[in-house]
């Protein structure tokens, strides 16, 4: 069993990163152009890394499956990005951001990584501002802040409701500058389909050109994956349609460990699904809960219109259960409460899968125009999608899969257990433990790309030992053959059902059994159903078209094939974790009043799963989580 060395520098928490940087080997500036770095992904993590590498002088090959790097899924983030600037003079500090993040993650993240994240958070705001990101401003010209869940200070920076878009465009612009300068070669509409490992080191990738269908190999001195999260395993999620696990998964099959897959975040305020044809779910900002009250009818199957239900027959269940935090209870808790209400038959709207988010009290108190000023764009979006006017009838909301805390295992340098393979952003597992706080994923992606990886990759390259090989190496040829064979296989099955049919079925199994609340029974059920579905997929899927051309169904087939394997691992991970923490709630492990019951004695570790080959069980490697600086405690929001 390979050892899981997290390589956290010794010494006091606040000095670890400084010390690590001081100990690093450096690449001679004149030699940088002799190294080629492959970066897969152009989201906040990938674009910031690729442009920074270019600025440093490395040669960079950058890939994404969208038609331009600017469309990576980071673009959809609405709310904001955290930083410990303490511009508001309200008592914020690097330590407090660190602490909030660790606590928000339910004490399942690495202290050293999270501290570094908090430390570099301030540089991100400076960097983005210099790039021209139009952050919201006060009249005096200084940057504005808002507050977000899980924190008592105002530390979130934002650009209207489009913070992710603006940060990504900032990173994209820097990236395009490097493309113009010839330091970065950009490959849009190109999907990584395999990782090539030579002599134990990650040395390249095999890709498919999504327009021409051409399968091609690329050689590099290091490979960086910044390929985002895997929430689309559930079919319906707030992720973009194209978001997938393929890059990470193929790396996993080549030996990279997959850590904590069971930590999935379910966001409480999304627009409920409207029918079978639903293709994705849309997030409504958490900020709505500041002025909206959440309720369901007290009587199951109450078919009356909401305004016909008198006050006394409504259950404002969050206010009832959590009198202190009320409607602002954290994401995981609010989501579960909504599910409980709907499971009890109290849900509203089609299929009973929804709860009311009611603004009528606020509108009475503050007037429709004040509410419109705060949430106008969200109300418009809601109306566009549902056709209902939230000024007049309460919104209907329901939880949806939103973010995945798990991902490829990385050490302090963001390198996986495979030397030369680095993993950034949502694709890695490092910083959010079992639950991510709002506005901290953007922070992590950019911290990784701008301020961590440029240092740590230099150290890896400078240490040398990277052999001279070419893409004619047998490992490349084998990987290409594998990719080609898989495509041929998909096209030859010509079964009865479309790729989406299987994806929806898988999503359903996952949502029902490995969703907001999991039990041993449900997980075992999932572990029976997923492999069966996978077998059916490989026998009965129907993929039209041919290989050598633009074929969107073929793209999807490869992604769903990987989800069908990941689903099994996710359920396996959830089954072994006999505790409840953050986004992982095992119904067997709860307190008397239904709160998550953590088990620090037995489960304070990161579970890093090792692939042993198709249909063989995974090996579980454990990285113990050591808390030297903070005291483990139970989260309470009562």
């Amino acid at each position: 069993m390979p050892t899981l060395d997290s390589r956290i520098p010794a010494g006091p928490l606040a000095e670890k990163w400084t010390k690590r940087k001081a100990d690093m080997k450096l690449v001679n500036p004149a030699n940088k152009r002799k190294y080629t770095i492959i970066v897969v992904g152009t989201g906040l993590a990938g674009a910031s890394a690729a442009s920074s590498f270019g600025e440093l002088g490395y040669n960079v090959l950058n890939f994404c499956f969208q038609d331009t790097p600017r469309r990576a899924h980071s673009i959809a983030a609405q709310g904001g990005i955290n930083a410990a600037k303490s511009y508001q003079n309200d008592g914020d500090s690097v330590w407090r951001l660190f602490y909030d993040t660790i606590k928000g993650g339910d004490f399942r993240a690495r202290e050293a990584n999270v501290y570094r994240l908090a430390e570099v958070s301030n540089n991100i705001i400076d960097q983005a501002t210099a790039q021209g990101v139009p952050f919201a401003r006060e009249y005096g010209g200084t940057l504005a802040n808002r507050s977000f869940g899980g924190a008592l200070v105002s530390r979130t920076f934002y650009a209207r409701g489009q913070t992710g878009q603006q940060l990504l465009i900032g990173a994209y612009q820097s990236l395009m500058r490097q493309v113009e300068l010839g330091k970065v070669k950009m490959f849009p509409r190109t999907e990584m389909l395999d990782l090539v490992v030579i002599d134990g080191r990650a040395r390249g990738i095999v890709t498919r050109d999504l327009v021409t269908g051409k399968v091609e190999s690329f050689l590099g001195d290091a490979v960086v994956l910044a390929t985002g999260g895997y929430g689309n395993l559930y079919y319906l999620s707030t992720n973009a349609k194209g978001s997938n696990v393929t890059a990470s998964w193929r790396a996993h099959r080549k030996g990279a460990f997959f850590a904590n897959p069971c930590y999935t975040q379910i966001h409480p305020t999304c627009i409920p699904r409207a029918g079978e044809y639903q293709s994705k779910l849309t997030l409504m900002s958490e900020s709505l809960r500041n002025d909206g009250r959440i309720w369901v009818p007290k009587k199951a199957g109450d078919g009356r219109a909401p305004d016909q239900i008198p006050e006394g027959e409504r259950d404002y269940y969050l206010e009832r259960k959590y009198p202190t935090y009320g409607n602002l209870a954290p994401r995981d808790i609010s989501s579960r409460a909504a599910k409980q209400a709907c499971d009890a038959g109290l849900g509203v709207g089609p299929g009973g899968l929804g709860v009311y988010l009611d603004f009528s009290d606020s509108i009475k108190r503050l007037g429709a125009s004040a509410i419109g000023e705060r949430y106008g764009n969200l109300f418009d979006m809601y109306q566009r999608i549902t056709g209902e006017n939230p000024y007049q009838v309460p919104m209907r909301i329901y939880p949806a899969v939103h973010y995945t805390m798990g991902g490829l295992w990385v050490d302090y340098d963001l390198m996986s257990n495979l030397p030369g393979l680095f993993v950034l952003g949502e694709a890695n597992f490092s910083d959010h433990g079992a639950n991510r706080l709002g506005a901290s994923a953007l922070m992590q992606g950019l911290a990784d790309g701008y301020f961590v990886i440029p240092y740590t990759i230099g150290d890896y390259l400078a240490r040398g030992g990277i052999a001279k090989v070419g893409t004619d190496h047998t490992e490349f040829k084998a990987a290409e053959a594998q990719v080609n064979a898989q495509e041929k296989k998909f096209l030859s099955i010509q079964g009865k059902h479309t790729v989406d049919y299987f994806h929806k079925k898988l999503g359903n199994i996952m949502w029902e059994n490995v969703g907001m609340a999991r039990t041993q029974e449900s997980l075992e059920k999932a572990l029976r159903e997923i492999p069966a579905l996978r077998d059916e997929f490989w026998q009965d899927v129907k993929v039209p078209g041919i290989e050598g051309e633009f074929n969107q169904e073929l793209e999807k087939a490869g992604r769903v094939a990987d989800f069908l394997e990941l689903g099994e691992l996710l359920a396996t991970d959830a089954l072994q974790r006999n505790e409840s923490c953050g986004g992982h709630f095992r119904s067997e492990f709860q307190t008397e009043d239904g709160e998550a019951l953590r088990n620090d004695a037995d489960y304070a570790y990161a579970a890093a799963w090792e692939w042993n080959g198709a249909s063989k069980p995974w090996t579980l490697n454990k990285e113990p989580l050591v808390f030297e600086n903070i005291h483990l405690q139970t989260r309470s929001y009562k």
Binding site: I75, L143, A240
Partner: protein
């Protein structure tokens, strides 16, 4: 409800292309436009026919990946709405909808409704950035930006790069896109040092990419799902003219820095 769809089918850039008619009787008013096409595609695949290729990703109106022309309207007839956010309740039973790709020389057709918009990337490459490297910038609050300028800059920065402006323009001009970027950066003090050279290089790249010129028709702003205004094109012109007047050899040219 029931719809008749006439969809442009074209195998590749070299294929001539033609409209193909589909009767679609499984349309729910709650579907988004793209979900309506998803359902059609599922049926086509099951029948052994080729599904219709179209691009989309976020389906929330923010990534800019979707986009085609519905009955002569880029992104469909709803103002300020991308086609992924357009819902079927705005259509009526029995409607005939004609779907065409965005058409421009700079946007070659890949397949059916999917096109190649990388020309827009190349316009950004020419100078759509502040030439600064990661590391070492000043504290963000040491640069003060008036709220009005910040807000206006944000209005311009809201562009999602969808190309609907090009599609709508009788001249197939990408001026709204280009002007948006020039305005976004030029309105901020951080973008000031390169304001004029940026306009020079971006406008010239716009030209060599094969887009038409702006003749102030205004169809772009009508079609833009993010509400970018013609004012941003005026700002582009102003910066370009100022750049021409103050031009010094060796001062222009994208990416140098």
């Amino acid at each position: 409800m029931r719809l008749t769809l006439e969809i442009w089918r074209q195998k590749g850039a070299d294929d001539a292309g033609r409209f193909v008619r589909y009767e679609h009787d499984e349309v729910s008013e709650h579907m988004s436009f793209l979900e309506m096409l998803d359902v059609l595609n599922q049926k086509l695949i099951e029948k052994g026919e080729e599904p219709v290729s179209f691009d989309s990703d976020c389906r929330e109106g923010i990534c800019g990946m979707c986009g085609f022309v519905v009955n002569g309207y880029p992104h469909g007839p709803q103002p300020l709405t991308t086609v992924c956010q357009l819902h079927m309740r705005f259509f009526h039973d029995g409607d005939v909808l004609r779907l065409e790709p965005f058409r421009a020389k700079a946007f070659p057709i890949i397949r059916d409704l999917a096109i190649d918009r990388s020309a827009l990337d190349r316009i950004i490459m020419a100078g759509g950035y502040n030439s600064i490297n990661a590391g070492g910038p000043r504290d963000a609050n040491s640069i003060l930006v008036g709220k009005k300028e910040a807000d206006l800059s944000m209005d311009a920065a809201a562009c999602i790069g969808c190309g609907a402006c090009v599609a709508a323009c009788p001249n197939a001009s990408a001026s709204l896109f280009t002007g948006g970027k020039i305005s976004h950066l030029g309105l901020l003090p951080q973008g000031e040092p390169e304001r004029k050279t940026r306009a020079l290089s971006m406008v010239e790249r716009h030209n060599t990419e094969g887009f038409g010129g702006c003749t102030v028709i205004g169809a772009c702003a009508e079609a833009c799902p993010k509400g970018l205004k013609l004012d941003f094109i005026a700002r582009m012109n102003k910066d370009y003219l100022a750049g021409t007047v103050t031009y010094r050899e060796g001062a222009a040219g994208g990416g140098s820095g």
